[in-house]
Amino acid sequence: MKRVVVNEKWCLGCHLCEYNCAFSNSGMKDMVKALKGRDIFPRIRVEDGGDITFAVSCRHCKDAICVKSCISGALSKKDGVVTIDKSKCVGCYTCILVCPYGAITNDGEGAVQKCELCLSTTAGTPACVAGCPNRALTLDDDDIETADARG
């Protein structure tokens, strides 16, 4: 199962992953053009717990409760990755209500969004992982399915 994992020991709370995420999913070629003067809606969020900080994004759960709960069939799991079909999403926010990690957010345009591992925007490495200055974020690609929808 693939997912972005964070080692809180190395997370600096610099929030670069959020900006790299927003840029990667903007569909634009230039970060300035994509993000300047805008509120960003990243799919990864850095939580600040005082002593520790770490980034939270979709766990791509084995039995993903968001997929099970989606009333429109917009969320589905393909090849181990929970993906969102925005054309189907009606913005009911049931997934926001059930995701135990708070990893699904509204996208500001009436649908929801979540980490899809940059599968459609970059080759191989998600932008948050590629841009992490301290290697706190890595792309886990093992068979151990630790995360589950029970949260």
């Binding site: 600040d48 009606v90 926010y93 509204n106 949260g151």
Partner: protein, 423 residues
């Protein structure tokens, strides 16, 4: 192979499809027959209002691709079941056909409940709002000038109102309850939703009910008269329990099942809107919502096929929104209240015996304040506290109630869930 099992699933909705998936996750070869009352593949019923609103369309409402049934070896029979014969182990269809079974899943859902109302039969254009057929019929009856009266200000009635309000002349909603969404919100929370709908021209007659219908007029108990062209009845629903009740199974407001989705009758399972089961706090309820149907159906399927699955995290919860204002609720509303609110938003938590047992979060995408537009962000973290029965003294409750975060959960939770802990 003579050992192949015969599975019969009665119903064609989310629970039924999830049940089939549950069976196939364990048993690739058994025979699955799905008895479906509606003449169409499974679709997402909550989408019918979005269909009317133009946010969805029939094709996109399908719950699974058209190839789903073939690929999973599911034999679909478009019919309804009239009874289950436990002596011969056969499901009897309305057509008279009989289907032999080893295991049965009853996923018959619920039906609209229409209380007796004087003169109702004189109303020509009256509709329910449960199925695609209901929505299509309603759609063909409305035009931009027509006046619509909706009886029932619950989830169904209000979604219907939102769905059609831009397509009709006027919408009036009446309900005996003194507020909208009375089953999931209290007065102050309901007011926020009502205000939003009122903003969009929807009229409300609350705490009032129809005393008598004439073909195009409703005479209300309060004395008011409402003229209408089209009537939508969305008073409530009742679980379809008769198949199980008739064979001696325990039923309450729904078919009673344990946390493995077994009814009290051997080899008979049930899932979806028709069941009543213990929620995460042990309270028996009918929790007719899509996530529970999907999770319960899957659990039933796995157990029917000889696997072992438990569904013990059912909780009442609802996410519903109107015109960008959303109410996300879960659990039960008892115990101490913690509340914070402002213009167009509300965050209220119910804490009892050291556990979070319920919450209401109302926010508005178009709220002027950041807190207002983020009032329901990451609500699932709260739901998780309820569903997993996490004692509040093991987490940083104060921080969590201010702002949901994984940080405020226990370090072990944080590390095992978020990180690959290699050092």
């Amino acid at each position: 192979m003579e050992n192949k099992k015969h599975y019969v699933i009665i119903g064609g909705g989310i629970a039924a499809v999830s049940c089939a998936e549950g069976i196939r996750s364990v048993d690739k070869d058994g025979f699955i027959t799905l008895v479906c009352g509606e003449p169409r593949p499974a679709y997402c019923r909550p989408l019918i209002s979005y269909y009317l609103e133009g946010k969805s369309e029939l094709e996109r409402m399908k719950y699974r691709p058209d190839t789903f049934y073939d690929e999973n070896g599911i034999d679909v029979v478009f019919d309804t079941a009239s009874s289950i014969d436990t002596d011969t182990c056969e499901v009897v269809l309305s057509s008279g056909d009989r289907i032999a079974y080893d295991e049965v899943c009853v996923a018959t859902g619920s039906s609209p409940f229409v209380p007796p109302m004087e003169g109702l039969e004189t109303v020509e254009k009256r509709f329910g709002f449960m199925t695609v057929d209901d929505a299509l019929a309603l759609e063909s009856a409305i035009d931009e000038n027509c006046r619509v009266l909706i009886v029932g200000a619950g989830l169904i009635g209000l979604k219907c109102a939102e769905g059609i309000c831009e397509r009709v002349g006027s919408v009036t909603v009446c309900d005996l309850a003194p507020r909208v969404l009375s089953s999931i919100l209290d007065d102050s929370a309901a007011k926020l939703i009502e205000d939003k709908l009122t903003e969009h021209g929807i009229k409300f007659l609350l705490g009032d009910t129809v005393a008598r219908f004439e073909p195009n007029t409703a005479h209300m108990k309060s004395g008011e008269n409402v003229d209408f062209d089209v009537l939508v009845l969305a008073v409530g629903v009742r679980a379809n329990v008769s198949l199980v009740r008739d064979i001696g199974g325990n039923v309450g407001r729904g078919i009673i099942v344990d946390n493995t989705m077994r009814t009290t009758v051997p080899h008979i399972y049930a899932a979806g809107d028709c069941v009543q089961m213990a929620d995460v706090n042990g309270v028996e309820r009918v929790m007719a919502i899509l996530p529970n149907a999907a999770l319960g159906g899957k659990c039933a399927g796995v157990n029917m096929a000889g696997g072992e699955s438990v569904f013990d995290t059912a909780a009442p919860m609802n996410a519903i929104g109107f015109f960008g204002r959303h109410a996300l609720t879960a659990g039960s509303y008892e115990g101490d209240v913690r509340e914070d609110s402002g213009d167009g938003w509300l965050r209220r938590f119910y804490i009892k015996d050291g556990y979070l047992c319920g919450f209401m979060l109302i926010g508005d995408e178009n709220a002027g304040s950041a807190i207002g537009s983020h009032a329901y962000d990451r609500a699932g973290i709260y739901t998780s506290l309820i569903r997993n029965h996490i004692p509040l003294d093991t987490v940083d409750a104060e921080a969590l109630l201010r702002l949901p975060s994984v940080t405020s959960m226990t370090p072990e939770y944080r590390r095992t869930k978020m990180a690959a802990w290699k050092n």
